[in-house]
């Protein structure tokens, strides 16, 4: 494929031109988002009774379900996205520089959707601020959910700062080619800009990237989010220190899948074959394989630990999980995807962009399924198993399912708006005339 680097004109084309496809995409996304907001309005009106959630115990249900599963999924995509972008900056992985900003944007979009899911999950979302803030200095010492709010906020701030700093350079240098009606926005973004700051900004961004790379596994998706579950004494299905690494690998897998899909759509819509090269997609596909493999490995650890000489409660939970058809579907899907990735790594002729995109979509479906299952399966098999109604049952209602469509639509709208505001590919990526021929590297990654 073409390997000539793009031109600045390429990356600002989405801002200047609006195609029919854009309007259609916007219209469809807006319609879905509106429809879902009506559904959500109904939930607000009637209460969470419109979901298929119920009390565990004598009630025979699961109090958490798709909303929390989807929350972890979105947070995972967000965390993985920024890790990818930070890795590009820290480790000089230039091949992926064109998608670095896309990954950052995905982080902001996905994190917003995760935040929205917290709201959607609540019985009394109206109280979120007034209840959380006054008690925060005390709850943050004891409640994993308060830690969770903390890290999500931290992450949002870090990512937004990161993005805010890096777009200054682009906007400043492209300013005279950008449309005037967005003048105030660009003035705000480049407030106080001077060329001597570039070196300083580079350093700041480097340190931010370092912070993100260090914090993510220790505190964020490898820490606080899994601790929400693994720290409670009641549910053996959630036990274990493996949850941290497990959550992180799933996050990275989902994020790479998300980036592949997004960059593929942009490449298709804006003829960016020379910017998002096949070689880059092959590399991303291999990374998807690597993290997918880690995902499977940690699942295997849990399954073996769960079914072999585990106390009764733990074994019951694990056996229930591995015999659950949706679990078999999720893990089976990951195995099939890995088979493709392995095949294309060994024999490049097996690679095709379409196959990688399909693999990515399926991977996201698999990780979402696993996350939702993780949440409610854990709740169906508590330590205290005397209740006849336990294990209960749960299958998301249409109201809950519609939230998936709604949040994907909202995230799409977010991207469509961003496409009109500033370049989604860094100016640096098209300025640096780097070489993309590193076939040996692909095999290294995938093995």
């Amino acid at each position: 494929m073409a390997t000539s680097p793009g031109e600045p004109e390429d990356i600002i084309r989405p801002i200047l031109n609006t195609s029919k496809k854009y309007y259609i995409a916007f219209g469809v996304a807006a319609a879905i988002a509106l429809l879902w907001s009506a559904v959500y309005g109904w939930q607000l009106e009637e209460g969470l009774i419109v979901t298929n959630l119920a009390d565990w115990g004598s009630g025979g249900g699961s109090p958490w379900g798709l909303y929390i599963g989807a929350f972890i999924w979105w947070v995972g995509i967000a965390h993985g996205g920024i890790i990818l972008s930070a890795a590009v900056r820290l480790f000089g992985m230039e091949r992926y520089q064109p998608v670095a900003r896309m990954a950052e944007l995905l982080t902001l979009g996905a994190l917003s959707m995760a935040g929205l899911y917290i709201l959607v999950h609540m019985g009394r979302p109206d109280r979120l601020v007034l209840s959380v803030v006054p008690a925060y200095p005390w709850t943050v010492r004891t409640s994993p959910l308060a830690w969770d709010v903390t890290v999500i906020t931290l992450y949002f701030v870090m990512t937004a700062t990161y993005l805010g700093l890096t777009i200054r350079y682009d906007v400043y240098h492209l300013r005279d080619r950008l449309p005037n009606y967005l003048g105030p926005f660009y003035s705000l973004v480049t407030l106080g800009y001077s060329e001597i700051e570039e070196e300083v900004i580079e350093r700041m961004v480097w340190w931010l990237a370092l912070g993100i790379i260090v914090l993510a596994p220790l505190l964020l998706h490898g820490g606080v989010i899994p601790w929400l579950f693994s720290l409670v004494p009641s549910m053996p299905g959630w036990d274990g220190a493996v949850q941290g690494p497990q959550f992180l690998t799933i996050a990275l897998t989902s994020a790479i899948a998300g980036v592949i899909i997004l960059s593929y759509i942009c490449r298709w819509a804006y003829d960016w074959e020379h910017i998002f090269s096949d070689a880059m997609f092959r590399g991303l596909t291999n990374w998807l394989g690597l993290f997918g493999l880690l995902f499977l490995w940690l699942q295997l650890q849990q399954v073996i630990n769960g079914v072999y000489a585990e106390p009764i409660a733990g074994e019951t939970a694990m056996v229930a999980r591995i015999t659950q058809p949706y679990y078999i579907f999720a893990i089976g899907t990951v195995i099939v995807i890995l088979a493709y990735i392995f095949a294309q790594a060994v024999d490049q002729r097996q690679f095709s962009l379409a196959r990688s995109v399909v693999a990515s979509v399926l991977m996201l479906v698999a990780t979402l399924t696993e996350k939702v299952l993780f949440v409610f399966e854990g709740l169906l098999y508590p330590h205290f198993s005397l209740y006849e109604a336990v294990p209960g049952h749960y299958f998301p209602s249409l109201v809950e399912f519609s939230s998936l469509a709604g949040t994907v639509a909202l995230c799409t709208i977010f991207f469509l708006v961003i496409l009109k505001l500033f370049p989604v590919v860094e100016l640096h990526a098209v300025e640096d005339h780097h070489d993309d021929h590193e076939p040996a590297h692909d095999e290294e990654v995938s093995s």
């Binding site: 004598s58 609540m122 994993p144």
Partner: protein
């Protein structure tokens, strides 16, 4: 008092476990001592003070006692003790001794303005502070720190000498026949919605025996409640004064983390509109914020404006703090057994020290539930527990004496085994405040159909006319409109 004396004649200090009184162990203690010995002052005194500082933060001794104990020693050692004497300690602070207040006063010690001695002193204090810090960390959750807003409560009962009660129950499972009167009593008292059986009774069978067993399951009101710990807004909290684990319905955001963290499954969320409207529960014609604004008193203060208002209205919704914690929750918030805080705060027509389920059980002639202050040996709960174990002891003693003689013992209790007591899932460290008398369900037990179905109390079987079911899920799955065409089936038997 010299430090040598204290070392010799102190029999066994509560914090002296094995070789070290310090939770971090002997090695740590030795390091602290070395550091103290580097200074020109008495290391023993430093260690003594550090040890008692731990007792202070644990609430075993008061701040005054601490100062009084060491005043002379400190004066002798440092030629002055400008720390506040107990007369100077503001009485308002006594109840909530926090590490900060002690540290502050220690830090304020003015050692004649001499730089060197101050530095030495700080070194000693450093060692003391390390102990204090640890102690404070271990006890911080008893009560929120000073300056906490009104709606922020603690997650543990206060230490024994600072609380008024520790409410709990002794439930005699051998007296239970599964009539579910307690379940109905709770519904009548609290107006809970269909299937939200705050009081729940298991009927179960063991694998080996066909015998029908019962397990009465209210909220366990744990002293180390996982639900209160995980709450991100402190809506679920523990009242320091009496250990009741309650939900502030006005703060709860409905995240259901308490429900997830509770190992007993006692929480029931208000998924939709409650079956019983608030107007039928509320006897006080005031908004919640107005109730809170009324001049309120301390626990058991019967003269306050708020107490009078609640008492006049025979209120069953607010507690003494004016917080909406009693009766069924509003939509979108979490409910569970409350152990009737409005009764315990004395402003209902029902006496303090009673709960609705116990009253119903007594009325049925079963008296399996015995509510009371578990701290008080004279409470109904403790007296019952004592009596039941005594009966058994007598039987055992008789057996010891009879040996080879003909056996002719007339007793209903089984003479071959001691009556067992247990707390549910105690090994999870929740410190539940429900003590059961009888057999603990084993891992192979299975819940079976109750002799009295829950549905018996549906409709006219309860005060509100609501439907009563065992399993709630099906009822909820119908959504906001409720199950179709169910009205005709209600009614007691």
């Amino acid at each position: 008092m010299s430090t040598e004396d204290t070392q010799n004649d102190e029999p066994k200090h509560p914090y002296e476990t094995e070789d070290s009184f310090h939770p971090l162990g002997e090695e740590w203690e030795d390091r602290m001592r070395e550091e103290l010995e580097d200074t020109e002052y008495d290391a023993d005194l430093g260690m003594e003070m550090a040890r008692d500082a731990q007792r202070l933060v644990a609430g075993e001794i008061s701040e005054e006692e601490f100062y009084a104990e060491y005043h002379d020693d400190v004066a002798e050692e440092f030629e002055a003790d400008d720390r506040p004497l107990f007369d100077d300690v503001n009485p308002a602070n006594h109840e909530e001794i926090e590490d900060g207040s002690v540290l502050d006063s220690l830090a304020e010690m003015d050692l004649q303005g001499e730089e060197t001695s101050r530095r030495e002193m700080m070194k000693k204090m450093g060692a003391g502070a390390a102990f204090l810090g640890y102690g404070a960390y271990a006890t911080y959750d008893f009560q929120p720190a000073d300056g906490a807003p009104d709606n922020v409560s603690g997650i543990r009962p206060a230490p024994k000498d600072e609380r008024e009660h520790r409410w709990g129950m002794v439930i005699d499972l051998q007296r239970c026949d599964g009539c579910l009167a307690c379940v109905a009593g709770c519904i009548n008292e609290n107006g809970t919605s269909t299937g939200a059986n705050w009081m729940y009774v298991f009927t179960y069978e063991d694998e080996d025996s066909e015998q029908e067993n019962f397990l009465v399951r209210p909220c366990q009101h744990c002293s180390n409640a996982p639900c209160a710990k995980v709450c991100p807004v402190r809506a679920r909290h523990t009242r320091g004064k009496d250990g009741l684990v309650l939900t502030d319905y006005e703060t709860c955001i409905g995240c259901r983390y308490c429900q997830v963290a509770c190992p007993y499954g006692v929480n029931y969320f208000q998924w939709g509109e409650p079956d019983v409207e608030v107007s039928r529960l509320e006897h006080l014609d005031m908004r919640p914020e107005e109730v809170r604004q009324l001049e309120g008193g301390d626990y058991d203060d019967r003269d306050s404006e708020r107490y009078q208002a609640l008492s006049d209205a025979n209120d069953h919704v607010y507690d003494y703090r004016g917080r909406w914690t009693d009766s069924r929750p509003p939509q979108g918030t979490m409910g569970k057994c409350t152990m009737c805080p409005s009764r315990q705060d004395g402003h209902t027509d029902n006496p303090k020290g009673t709960v609705a389920c116990m009253d119903a059980c007594d009325a049925q002639g079963m008296s399996a539930i015995h509510f009371g202050d578990l701290d008080d040996p004279e409470s109904r709960a403790n007296r019952y527990l004592e009596r039941r174990t005594e009966v058994e002891d007598t039987v055992l003693e008789k057996w010891e004496g009879v040996e080879d003689e003909d056996l002719d013992i007339e007793t209903t209790a089984s003479p071959t085994s001691e009556i067992s007591t247990f707390r549910l899932l105690e090994d999870l460290g929740t410190q539940p405040n429900i003590v059961y008398l009888g057999n603990e369900p084993g891992p192979e037990t299975e819940q079976t159909e109750p002799p009295t179905p829950y549905e018996v109390y549906s409709g006219s079987g309860n005060k509100w006319g609501v439907e009563v079911v065992d399993e709630r899920k099906e009822h909820l799955d119908y959504g906001p409109s409720g199950p179709p065409e169910q009205e005709g089936e209600e009614g007691g038997e």
